[in-house]
């Protein structure tokens, strides 16, 4: 069951596999950022779990790698 108190927390973070997927395709953070229309810093922050992407960006990331959003982002502990 989703803990909604965590969803609304300012400090809420999620585990993701963006780095692993990016490295599988031999992409740099800059290249992935260019493909998605965001900066390298944003990709880095997402990979490190410091930044939660918006829904459109999360969907864009998932679609770029041909995965579902749930496969890429997981609310489990890092």
């Amino acid at each position: 069951m989703l803990d909604t108190s965590r969803v609304t927390s300012y400090l809420y973070t999620m585990h993701n596999i963006v780095r692993e997927l990016r490295q599988e395709e031999n992409l740099s953070q800059g290249q992935l950022g260019d493909a998605l229309g965001v900066s390298r810093q944003t990709i880095n922050s997402i990979e490190q779990g410091r930044y939660l992407p918006s829904l459109p960006l999360a969907m864009g990331i998932a679609r770029h790698f041909g995965r579902s959003v749930e496969e890429v982002f997981d609310e489990g502990d890092e």
Partner: protein, 144 residues
């Protein structure tokens, strides 16, 4: 592209709506130079053209530094063309600056009152700020 388990036939094509977040890279530099022109005109009207020219030169140099620096520094480039993360950082920083300014205005108003003054113009600034906040609340409640 890896195959997905999506059975609803959604396209795996990259999401194309993200690029609309970015603004033109000329907006901030042009606005900065225009502010310099406003400073020049106001200073000239006040009898201080030299100060106005200095202000215009300063703002022009600032705009140029951000434009040129943006070619080497991603952080500077993001100041003119923010992505969603940088836009969020900008909003948070603006909010903090607003709270600091508001605290100073309220503090100055209270100090003026304690000195037997009428609190002008701080009282008017607080009234305008409060009204703006309420209008924004109503508008955003309606739109979101």
């Amino acid at each position: 592209m890896k195959e997905t388990n999506d059975t609803q036939g959604r396209s795996a094509a990259p999401y194309s709506g993200l690029k609309s977040v970015r603004t033109s890279r000329w907006v901030m530099p042009i606005f900065t130079v225009l502010m310099g022109v406003v400073i020049l005109v106001a200073s000239w009207m006040g009898g201080n053209p030299r100060d106005g020219l200095f202000g215009l030169a300063l703002m022009t140099c600032l705009a140029g530094a951000v434009m040129l620096g943006g070619r080497r520094s991603e952080s500077l480039r993001l100041m003119t063309q923010p992505d969603e993360r940088w836009a969020g950082i900008d909003r948070a920083a603006s909010l903090l600056a607003g709270y600091v300014l508001l605290t100073l205005v309220i503090g100055s108003w209270i100090y003026e009152l304690s000195q037997g003054q009428d609190g002008d113009p701080y009282a008017r600034l607080m009234a305008i700020t409060g009204a703006s906040y309420l209008i924004a609340l109503v508008f955003l409640r309606w739109r979101r």
